[in-house]
Amino acid sequence: MSIAALGNIQMTYFALSYHPSLLEFRSGVSVVGPVSAKYVSLVWRGCAIITNGLKLSGGVAQAKPDAPGLLE
């Protein structure tokens, strides 16, 4: 599976995972082309973003350190 940007794509967030949810980019998923996210992708309250090594534009971080999720 690939995500292909056609031209310079601007986003506010690439990915958000809140309230025990899972967002996984399986092994082999690629992002092709220029994508620019204004803010970092966020996990919150026991959620997960599993990138399997994929670099998301803007990066991935905890929304609130006192209510963390899983980044992998």
């Binding site: 599976m1 056609l6 794509i9 990915a15 809140y18 025990p20 967002l23």
Partner: protein, 221 residues
């Protein structure tokens, strides 16, 4: 004399009962669902919801929502194959809300001009032939145990979200272009125990506020 009065009373009572049943709609047998075998339903922006049966490319319905309603209300798929709604080229002013499952089937597939090979492959040029422009609302809203497969088309619309789902076990999105001449407010927003699988190529054709959003025990993979 007494006997004839009794018969007249019985006849009058029978007449009253019969007209009561007529009034309540009991006079006709219930409408039968049509039996399908992996039925394909055709839709085109130049089609007609009222005059066409949607069963051939030459007799397409006009709107996706109407075709979904037709699938849900009029057909029994009898486990002989899931319904497939095939969209002809053009620009559609709305997508569809899917809720529940068809009788005798699980999945409603809504596809554009994809290849008919087993891989159902789709190029960018094919995906761009079918555009769902739904400004201000979700192009596709899948909820309440509905299972949808959306393939080979383009979604756009100011302040629109390409796909919103809630309370559904699994839906597939493949070979879909998000944003075209118009941007999108969101790409895929999964809420309240919704699962979405992405496949094939996902094209990003215009700016998007939040591309992937999983909330309240949902899953996007």
């Amino acid at each position: 004399m007494r006997r004839s009065r009794f018969l007249i009373c019985i006849l009058a009572l029978a007449t009253i009962l019969a007209s009561g049943f007529l009034f309540l709609g009991y006079s006709q047998p219930p409408a039968q669902r049509l039996r399908a075998h992996g039925q394909i339903f055709h839709v085109s922006p130049s089609g007609s919801n009222s005059n066409n049966d949607r069963l051939t490319q030459e007799t397409p319905g006009q709107t996706i929502q109407y075709a979904v309603g037709h699938v849900m209300a009029d057909w029994d798929f009898a486990w002989q194959g899931d319904p497939l709604i095939r969209l002809g080229p053009g620009i559609y002013s709305e997508g569809a809300v899917l809720a529940g499952q068809p009788v005798g089937a699980h999945t409603i597939s809504i596809v554009g001009q994809q290849d008919s090979d087993p891989g159902q492959s789709c190029s960018l040029a094919q995906a761009e032939q079918v555009v769902i422009r739904a400004p201000g609302r979700a192009a596709f809203y899948i909820q309440d145990l509905a299972i949808g497969a959306v393939r080979c088309l383009t979604l756009e619309g100011a302040d629109s979200v390409g796909l919103v789902c809630r309370q559904t076990p699994a839906s597939d999105i493949a070979f879909v272009k998000f944003g075209n001449s118009q941007s999108l407010g969101g790409g895929i927003h999964a809420n309240e125990n919704c699962s979405v699988n992405l496949g094939g190529t996902i094209w990003l054709g215009a700016n998007i506020d939040t591309f992937l959003y999983a909330n309240l025990m949902s899953r996007i993979t």
